[in-house]
């Protein structure tokens, strides 16, 4: 073979490799052979995502308001409702089509509308979670340094930022290697975390009795007990909903609707319950939910440091997992400018944002509850609109080719690429949520004490969307509603 033909061959191989990468990293629909996750595989992924150290923080924040038993109830109610809404608003659509979540959501919001959703809601939400994981990693390694070398680094000091930046860098390396590497790491991390969480609970309960745990008072409650409980429920609802930005894209790798739906709900729920219980117990008994603060004093230097090392590593794999879907979303929604960047460069660009936030570790910790609830307000509205569109208006029939069409002949063009009805419904619903429960001023309306803010907000999103969309698009024959089902012969499962 001549040098010239070898060069041409290498160039062609490079293009082929790029196409192959795009199929993994991009918006191309996956073929059946590429959809390799069974329900068991996906369960391990969701379980390992849920048993990250953020669950300790969520548990600890819950017991600021309520005691142990009420905390478990609030956790179950909030997560069960939040995860059910989240799963129906993300995994079913992407799984059926085998298409990345934000490409699939073109059928709901329009191609420009998806961009607005991604850059206004998704990017900010995931940036917050990613930086939080980095800060927790930083706190873990500061504590290890304090224990191993007798240093006295502050738990919100500069070293936390340095380690957080290191975690983000390692997360970028994992992320650059793609979803297969993330999946392989999760198979190792998830069972390990289960062991670590069990170990933490054993250590805690070796120092305290169950009676002490059950009798422990909430850490910082308000005078109204019912309001405390509902705020704890709402916070857990927000935590359950917060999985929405990543779950659809992950679920497209599964082999059937039930293999996607149940792990997205049950895997997260089980993992959250297990880890949050430890966070709640630690918060009530030790006054600190974050294991970085109590693991070494409780477990001793060797066991404590080893556990913190593992937890720190698990933070990084969680970071890579949530960043994977977010970077995909950004890639699909950013037009030709960012689309030209290769995967590692785009991943670096996204991770630069949480890197900036990691310079403010104390702010991230102190505003954690507010952040979760506000992001939950927007995600609840998004899910309401998606559920109404996919299950009620489209009856699960989305035109696959139209997801990739562009220009004036695009059946999913809506109004200049924006489904105005969807975005207006999201605004109405989110505003209603924040009127019922304002997480900044903590003002609430009477309905909040028995009905939460999320549930009525989802209903309002659905109703307002159905009315507006019917008026603007369905009645006018726009938006490709009522088409034939390409996959009708595939049946229902």
């Amino acid at each position: 073979m001549s040098g010239e033909s070898r060069t041409r061959g290498a160039a062609a191989a490079s293009v082929e490799a790029e196409v192959s990468k795009e199929a993994t990293y991009g918006s191309l629909p996956l073929l059946k052979a590429e959809r390799s996750w069974s329900a068991g595989d996906f369960s391990w992924v969701t379980l390992s995502l849920a048993i990250a150290t953020w669950a300790f923080l969520t548990g600890g924040s819950t017991v600021l308001l309520v005691g142990f038993t009420d905390g478990i109830a609030a956790m179950l109610i909030g997560n069960s409702i939040g995860l059910a809404i989240m799963a129906l608003g993300s995994v079913v659509l992407s799984q059926r089509l085998g298409v990345e979540q934000y490409r699939a959501l073109k059928s709901v919001f329009g191609i420009v509308g998806v961009g607005i959703v991604v850059f206004v809601v998704v990017l900010l939400t995931e940036m917050g979670w990613t930086s939080l994981l980095g800060v927790m990693f930083g706190r873990a390694f500061s504590e290890i340094s304090n224990q191993a070398f007798g240093t006295e680094f502050d738990q919100f000091g500069p070293l936390v930022t340095v380690f957080a930046l290191a975690a983000i860098f390692v997360g970028w390396i994992i992320l650059s290697r793609g979803p297969v590497t993330i999946s392989k790491l999760n198979r190792f991390v998830a069972p390990g975390l289960l062991v670590v969480v069990a170990l933490m609970m054993i250590l805690l309960m070796s120092q305290f009795s169950w009676g002490e745990l059950l009798a422990a008072e909430p850490m910082a409650p308000f005078p109204d007990e019912q309001l405390n409980f509902m705020m704890a429920v709402e916070f857990n609802l927000g935590a359950g909903l917060s999985w929405w930005p990543v779950m659809g894209t992950l679920s497209r790798l599964t082999r059937g609707p039930r293999a996607a739906l149940w792990p997205a709900y049950a895997g997260i729920l089980v993992g959250t319950v297990v880890a949050q219980i430890v966070g709640m117990a630690a918060g009530l008994l030790m006054g600190q939910s974050d294991p970085t603060a109590w693991m070494v004093p409780l477990g001793g230097p060797i066991l404590g440091v080893l556990t913190l090392l593992f937890v720190g590593f698990a933070n990084v794999t969680s970071m890579a997992s949530i960043a994977y879907s977010t970077v995909l979303a950004v890639k699909q929604s950013s037009g030709p400018v960012l689309a030209k960047l290769n995967w590692p460069a785009l991943a670096a660009l996204f991770l630069a944002l949480p890197a900036v936030l990691s310079f403010f570790p104390q702010f991230m910790y102190e505003q954690f509850m507010t952040f979760v609830v506000i992001s939950g307000a927007f995600i609840a509205a998004l899910c309401g609109v998606i559920i109404a569109d996919y299950f009620i208006l489209r009856r699960q029939v989305v035109p696959l080719r139209a997801l990739y069409a562009s220009g004036p002949s695009d059946p999913l063009r809506f109004t200049g690429g924006v489904n105005i009805a969807a975005l207006v419904a999201v605004v109405i619903s989110s505003a209603f949520y924040l009127w019922v429960y304002n997480p900044i001023t903590l003002e609430t309306q009477p309905m909040f004490s028995f009905g939460t803010a999320t549930v009525p907000a989802v209903i309002i999103a659905m109703v307002s969307y159905l009315i507006l969309n019917s008026l603007l698009y369905v009645r006018r024959g726009r938006g490709a509603y009522g088409g034939t089902d390409l996959f009708a012969a595939a049946g229902r499962k």
Partner: protein, 56 residues
Amino acid sequence: MTEASALEQELERRLTAIEAEEANDPVHAALSGRSLGVFLAVAAGIVAVAIVMVAL
């Protein structure tokens, strides 16, 4: 072949393969009403158990 045209070809190949070979494959099955009902019932059941737990 440019990268963009290769991607377009790959997209068309995939869409054609899905339409021709996977249209009746259970991987593309819709969620049945029964599965949806069971799912919602389990989620509601967990909420009910938690409410009873608080009430006791």
